[in-house]
């Protein structure tokens, strides 16, 4: 219940989250030591994994947008450090990951596997290196350098540039008359090898930004020649938030629409923000344009996820915060000059101080809290769920201790009566076990067989996606559908697992009170959330579609050899690198066929995993009942002296007092979180 309240609260702050997280780590340590060897029904291993995940948790923000939309300036203004080169054209294949690190370093991974690391260097040196590796040299702006790089990454060095290759570049890039630039292509291509083409750039820097758990990914421009590549897709799928950067004017963006329609998955749409940049340039029209954007995109993205910002104003604000004067800023950078002059006047007009005017009109005051709230809301709930689990575990521990105390007291009072009490409880347990078997049988009829919800959903899903695969117009769209299908499959299976948990929980809760009253036995607590988590992990299947795309030339080569279309023959290694046979249409067709085959296998595998998960539930329930039975047997065997009983009762009461104190702390903590 409190979790729903927390959801409604919606003003989560990253700084608060960090503090609360540390406190929870301490509470978990206390829980572990108080729990000792006792089985309170909480799956300790699963809880430990959740705590570990919290410790290593990072928020991934993907920043996408067209080339020259102002992505780099936006990132600089967000991290409060002008480290990404902004006056260059970014190379498509190099994707930059930026994260907090106490010591500055730049790590570049090249296609050959070679790694270059620059450590402890000044900001300017890192910036210069970034400019060198991640941007397109001025001289080569008119040739599709990204496509050439991509070709070399896939096929190795180019030994000669012939007409066929130029034709291939023209077809893929849409640039005409490349023949006239043959000398440029040669110059560029012969200077490139897998050894100097970066595939991954990681930048760690001690940003003055408080979000040190955030990892930003500067994505290649969506309109860049060569398009979005596989590595980018994997980041988009994993991202906690995707910020699409687009200039505020013209507001209508084809690239944004296409990005939504055929690049990101339906699941990732939930994480999407639209950031309209350069708002200071159109200051008078800012509000109107923002409203227009909200209207135009209302069917694609929620209006509260659209923001108008100006990154340069934010950078000036950061400069002022660092102690620079407006005069100094004006002198240092031409880019900021006109804004310094204009907004200085505006500050006087609106009677604002210098800093206030820049941050106010930058739009970041609205964006950052909204982004923070969005990023932290899910992990915040995870904190609450963990607290709730620990609390439940403690309550179970108290119940177990009280039950033991009662048994010990009855042993002290009258041994005969004590043995009779144990036997009564054993009968009760037998009834409970029988009841559980009935419940399990009933669950089988609900969740297995032709009428089960999972079967009905899977059959329909398969046909829907076959149709989408076959109708898709290009590889990007096909890939998006496949990722969508995977996500939807996971949702179907996970929903079913959730329903199984709910089913068992409700059934056991119903019978719990009856058993407690009649047989004085506590129904064993079963950590269904842990079972659910374990099953989810076992079931989740990620089919790396990337591989098939990388093997494009192999696939096309197959196309020319019909006998290679047989799956068994395709498994053989075939010669790679015959350029003349590049036939994107044939490749696309092959990919479609392969996807249908793969999809059938994935569905089958998932179904299998689901049934195994169901078995896991059965075993977990059986295990707890067996433990309970063994516990009663042991009590019967171990008759104790009165002194021993008194001592044990005293220790148990002491434990209960300690646990109750801890439960109170947790309850207060939860209250504080929800205030």
């Amino acid at each position: 219940m409190f979790m729903e309240r927390a959801l409604q609260k919606g003003n989560f702050r990253l700084t608060d989250y960090k503090i609360y997280k540390q406190q929870i780590f301490q509470l978990f340590e206390n829980y572990k030591s108080l729990r000792g060897e006792i089985n309170d029904g909480i799956d300790l291993k699963s809880l430990e994994t959740r705590i570990e995940n919290l410790k290593n948790n990072q928020f991934l923000i993907a920043v996408a947008g067209e080339v020259k939309a102002g992505k780099s300036t936006f990132i600089n203004s967000l991290i409060k450090e002008e480290i990404l080169p902004t006056d260059v054209l970014q190379a498509t294949n190099a994707l930059i990951e930026i994260f907090y690190s106490k010591r500055p370093y730049l790590k570049i991974t090249y296609a050959s596997g070679k790694i270059e690391v620059i450590e402890e260097e000044a900001k300017e040196i890192l910036k210069e290196k970034l400019k060198e590796v991640a941007s397109i040299p001025e001289d080569y702006r008119d040739i599709p350098v990204n496509l050439i790089d991509l070709y070399i990454v896939e096929n190795g060095e180019l030994m000669m540039i012939d007409d066929d290759f130029i034709k291939y570049l023209e077809e893929r890039s849409g640039i005409e008359n490349l023949k006239e630039l043959k000398y440029k292509i040669e110059n560029y291509a012969f200077s490139r090898s897998r050894d100097n083409i970066p595939v991954k750039i990681e930048l760690g820097y001690p940003f003055p930004w408080e979000f040190d758990e955030i990892r930003l990914v500067d994505m290649p421009g969506v309109n860049a020649i060569g398009g979005i590549h596989d590595i980018s897709f994997s980041f988009l799928d994993k991202a906690n938030a995707i910020l699409f950067i687009h200039p505020i004017k013209p507001v209508e963006s084809e690239s944004f629409k296409r990005f939504i329609a055929s690049v990101i998955t339906n699941k990732s749409k939930e994480n999407l923000f639209l950031i309209l940049t350069h708002s200071a340039v159109f200051l008078e029209e800012r509000e109107r344009l923002l409203e227009e954007a909200k209207r135009i995109y209302q069917n694609l993205i929620s209006p509260d996820r659209i923001f108008a910002v100006d990154s340069v104003l934010k950078l000036i604000y950061e400069d002022l915060k660092k102690g620079k004067t407006l005069e100094e800023i004006k002198k240092e950078q031409k880019q900021k000059r006109k804004w310094v002059v204009y907004f200085k006047d505006l500050a006087e007009e609106e009677k604002l101080d210098e800093k206030e005017v820049f941050i106010k009109y930058s739009g970041f005051e609205e964006l950052v809290p909204a982004l923070e709230n969005f990023l932290v809301s899910a992990p915040f709930l995870e904190l609450l769920k963990i607290l709730e689990l620990i609390k439940e575990g403690y309550k179970e521990q108290i119940a177990i201790y009280n039950e033991t105390i009662r048994l010990l007291q009855s042993q002290k009072k009258d041994r005969e009566e004590f043995l009779a009490e144990i036997e009564r409880r054993q009968i009760g347990l037998k009834k409970l076990e029988t009841y559980c078997y009935f419940v399990l049988e009933e669950a089988a009829t609900v969740f297995m067989g032709v009428d089960s919800p999972i079967e009905n959903s899977l059959d329909q899903l398969k046909l829907d996606y076959y149709d989408k695969f076959i109708k898709s117009a290009d590889i990007e769209e096909l890939r998006k559908y496949y990722r969508d299908a995977e996500n939807e499959l996971n949702v179907v299976v996970q929903e079913s697992l959730k329903n199984i948990s709910k089913f068992f929980r409700e059934k056991l809760e119903q019978v719990g009170e009856q058993f407690k009253e009649e047989y004085n036995i506590q129904i064993p607590k079963i950590d269904f959330s842990a079972i659910e988590e374990t099953c989810k992990r076992a079931v989740a299947k990620k089919e790396e579609i990337i591989k098939e795309v990388v093997e494009s030339i192999v696939e096309n080569w197959n196309f020319l050899k019909p006998w290679k279309w047989l799956k068994s023959s395709r498994k053989k290694r075939v010669v790679i690198g015959v350029r003349e046979v590049l036939d994107s249409e044939a490749f696309f067709k092959t990919l479609k066929n392969n996807l249908i085959e793969t999809f059938i296998e994935v569905v089958e595998e998932l179904r299998d995993q689901f049934y195994r998960a169901f078995e896991f539930y059965k075993k977990s329930i059986g295990k707890l009942l067996n433990e309970k039975r063994a516990y009663l047997e042991n009590l019967k065997k171990e008759l104790k002296s009165n002194e021993m009983i008194d001592y044990e009762i005293l220790m148990l009461q002491k434990n209960i007092a300690l646990i109750e104190k801890e439960v109170k702390t947790i309850e207060e903590f939860i209250e504080r979180l929800l205030q």
């Binding site: 009834k431 029988t434 089988a444 009829t445 032709v450 076959y466 067709k589 249908i596």
Partner: protein, 240 residues
Amino acid sequence: MIETKTLKQIEKKLEEDISKEIELIKNEIFFIIDKDLDIYFLKEFVKQYPRKLLKEKAEILLDTLLNYLMKEILEKIKSMHLDHQYEFFKENLRDKIRVKALSENGSFKPQLIKIKEEESLLDKTITAMPGIAVSAGGIIATVAIPETLPLKAIPAVSTLVGPIYVIKKLKDKHKRLKNLWKKQVNSYLKLAKDDLKKWLLDVEKIFLKDWESFYKKVSSSSLQSAMDKSDINYAKIKNI
């Protein structure tokens, strides 16, 4: 024991389920065949997938049958002494039967589908009706092409009959081939349906035999008279 009338009802329901599942397989296969996909891919698909999907559905139908049978048995179990109930569940009849039915010896093994490969239709030869007028490069010719003209010979005759004709004929061949495959899949599934039914009825027999021996054991036990129907509210369990 389960009454004959009830068994008949179960078998009837099961038969309906089998038909429904076979229909689903057919729809899935036909859905793919009807699409404009590569003919070589489709050939492989038709060869492999009906069998694969049948195996998958067989397992689901097995669970369905066990659901029906267990439901009947549970009704009887509920009126038994707690010890017998307990004993029955310890027997784990459902799992035992399931394991047996899915074991190497007992599992359902669908036959391989034999589809007419008709290589001639795929890539070697092209057949044609004599006396068709086709236009090609402004030349109108009336030709009679032998029924099994090798594909290699097409360039030679294409100047006469024109490439449009060849493409059109190839498309027609694919259409004919697809219809042929559909027919073959249909008859394959018809046979498979009978095999599936037979397999499931065999499973049912084993189940009933095991249940019978348990029931006999329980009936002869002295506990039968001392009924302890326990205080669990079964009606409540059933209704949820």
